[in-house]
């Protein structure tokens, strides 16, 4: 097991350096001189330009700049935003809970519906229920989620007036941002209706972001279940006279869960990509919207730092999933 962990870590480090290199390279390739962008419309004198160039170290050789950047990254220094002048690191982690809250809710939504749907479809293989569920899953899988969001807004916010269109909570409520998770904070504040308001704001973004993972999980659960249901030990269990609920729910599902867990882990990248669209549409103040806004504002340090942090996060999650997989399934370790 130790060997497996070490070999996975050994691939992690060069990838991490490469990811840093790529996000470093972007700021140097982006069109428009960052200093000119910072100066804004008033323009800049040549002296001041040279001074700033020196201040940001743009006049030094590129490998020195990269080394500085890399050592900075390792110490949690990603530079400051051009727009807010605040450290990118701090901004990222003050906005991250919003994205995390949304992603966790989306994942709970996807698993809570996808897992039973997949099991039911597999048990009723080929019947009407299976076909209906799997057709729906394929539609969900093919869904342009930015359009799906707009449709839900038309129906639930426009026609029915049930849910708000943007933000995390009504402006009415104000309470300290203790955990960054609106659901917990609003509950802790004890204000009437605050929690409900937060919940209503969360509803549509959760559905939108959870749709594709839901479809993927339902499909994956179904195929994993079908595979397991064909195994001999299931036939044995059946021959023993075990109830089908117990067979499907306990014996089969437990083994079918292994590939499903992998899929759940691997959808973190999908979730973050989806968060870009979902947060933009619902004005959700998370890192997805922050990245899009920064790209439009040409706030290079933010784009660079955000890209790096998101990639590292995806890598860490994938590494963790790999490790867990190695623990659950000893066969993997041998490879």
């Amino acid at each position: 097991m130790l060997k497996y962990v070490l070999s996975r870590l050994a691939t992690f480090i060069p990838t991490f350096i490469g990811v840093t290199l790529i996000s470093f390279a972007f700021i140097r390739v982006l069109p428009g001189d960052p200093i000119v962008v910072m100066a804004g419309e008033r323009g800049i004198t040549e002296e001041r330009y040279a001074q700033l160039q020196q201040q940001f170290g743009f006049d030094r050789p590129i490998y020195v700049q990269f080394w500085d950047y890399f050592t900075g990254v390792l110490q949690g220094d990603l530079g400051n935003s051009f727009v807010t002048k605040k450290p990118v690191w701090d901004e990222f982690f003050s906005l991250f809970p919003a994205t995390l809250e949304l992603s966790i809710c989306a994942m709970i939504f996807a698993v809570a519906l996808g897992l039973p749907a997949g099991v039911i479809a597999a048990v009723n293989r080929g019947k009407f229920f299976d076909r209906a569920l799997m057709s729906t899953a394929l539609v969900g899988y093919s869904m342009p989620i930015f359009w799906w969001a707009l449709l839900l807004i038309i129906v639930f916010s426009g026609n029915l007036g049930w849910t708000p269109v943007s933000g995390r909570i009504d402006l009415l409520y104000y309470f300290p941002n203790a955990t960054g998770f609106m659901l917990i904070d609003s509950l802790a504040s004890g204000q009437d209706g605050a929690f409900l308001s937060a919940l209503r704001h969360l509803l549509l973004p959760t559905i939108v972001l959870g749709t594709i993972p839901l479809a993927v999980i339902a499909r994956q659960t179904r195929s994993a279940m079908l595979e397991v249901l064909g195994e001999d030990y299931i036939r044995t269990a059946r021959a023993k006279g075990m109830s089908s609920g117990r067979i499907n729910g306990i014996h089969a599902l437990r083994n079918a869960l292994i590939p499903v867990i992998t899929v759940i882990g691997l959808s973190v990248g999908t979730l973050l990509a989806g968060a870009i669209l979902t947060e933009t549409i619902f004005s959700w103040p998370g890192i997805g919207k922050w990245m899009v806004d920064s790209i439009f504002r040409r706030d290079y340090p933010v784009v660079q730092g955000g890209l790096l942090l998101i990639a590292v996060m995806v890598m860490v999650v994938n590494l963790t999933v790999d490790m867990l997989y190695g623990i659950i399934n000893p066969k993997i370790r041998k490879r």
Partner: protein
């Protein structure tokens, strides 16, 4: 009955051609056949769209802005699906828009697949150190969420449909590399490759003539699936203002333009998205059928 018998008799005499065998399995999947038909209509519209569309896609009917579809009160037959905020005919824009999505799919898949196959072949045949370097680079690209990487790439290159296609192709390419490399490595150990080598085939010949044709099945399936990913991503980039620019009637861009009118005019939002969904769904259905027909493990013999 007679047909079935004679077909069976024929099968006994000569093995059916690859294409016929493929069609035999593909046809069994009803969803895939429906998908194929929808895709055929999509391709037809993509080629002949401007000649079929009732109006010019950019012509503004100033007297009829935000006119509802024909079945709603206030709709007219001259604008069957209504008009957008600038008075342009929705149906015409949707029909003409088909070619952008189709074009995106074709170009992205061609670039990503050809690049990925070449790199994957090299990686599969290369010495270990080169293989490791190539695969690490692919890992690095895959570490970024695809849409985010495409978004940043487009920000560097400047927002346009061409740059969006390049960005999406770069993002999708590692999947082909991995897939090709994996099949190359498993094929390389087989006897027919060894015998080809013994007979004196050079590495290049081994790569392209001997091994590659036997690796194509999963790549074809991947091509179908990434065709739909490409359309979705290009539409998403268009929606974020980083893809095709207005007044191009690209479906994602149309959605972005219509966003502020969603609560007043449902049709300007509903139809472009529906077009994307139906197209992507059809391609995914086809992809599923292709996989079932090409994957020997799933074939019922």
């Amino acid at each position: 009955m007679d047909d079935a018998l004679s077909a069976e008799a024929e099968m006994v005499h000569d093995r059916p051609g690859r294409l016929r065998e493929f069609w035999f399995y593909f046809r069994e999947n009803r969803g895939a056949v429906i998908g194929l038909w929808i895709f055929a209509v999509f391709a037809f519209l993509a080629i002949f769209g401007p000649w079929i569309a009732p109006h010019d896609a950019t012509q503004q009917f100033r007297a009829a802005t935000l006119q509802p579809p024909v079945w709603q009160e206030g709709g007219t037959w001259s604008h069957i699906l209504g008009t957008d905020p600038l008075g342009r005919d929705m149906l015409s824009r949707l029909i003409v828009g088909a070619r952008y999505s189709f074009f995106v799919g074709i170009v992205v898949v061609s670039i990503a697949a050809s690049g990925g196959i070449i790199v994957g072949l090299i990686s599969g045949f290369a010495p270990k150190w080169l293989d490791t370097i190539i695969m690490r680079i692919m890992d690095i690209i895959l570490a970024f969420p695809s849409l985010l990487l495409a978004l940043v790439l487009v920000a560097i290159l400047g927002p346009s449909l061409t740059n969006a296609m390049i960005a999406i192709a770069i993002v999708l390419q590692p999947h082909y590399v991995r897939l090709t490399r994996a099949s190359v490595i498993s094929e390389r150990q087989k006897d027919y490759v060894t015998s080809a080598r013994v007979v004196g085939a050079g590495t290049l010949r081994l790569m392209v003539v001997t091994v590659l044709p036997n690796c194509l099945a999963p790549i074809i399936v991947q091509a179908a699936l990434s065709f739909s990913t490409a359309i979705l991503d290009a539409a998403a980039l268009g929606f974020l203002g980083m893809g095709a620019q207005p007044p191009t009637p690209e479906w994602g861009t149309m959605l972005a333009e219509a966003r502020e009118f969603i609560l007043r005019a449902w049709w300007v939002v509903t139809f472009p998205g529906l077009a994307i969904l139906v197209t992507v769904l059809a391609i995914n259905l086809m992809g599923d059928g292709l996989r079932d027909a090409l994957d020997p493990k799933l074939k019922r013999s």
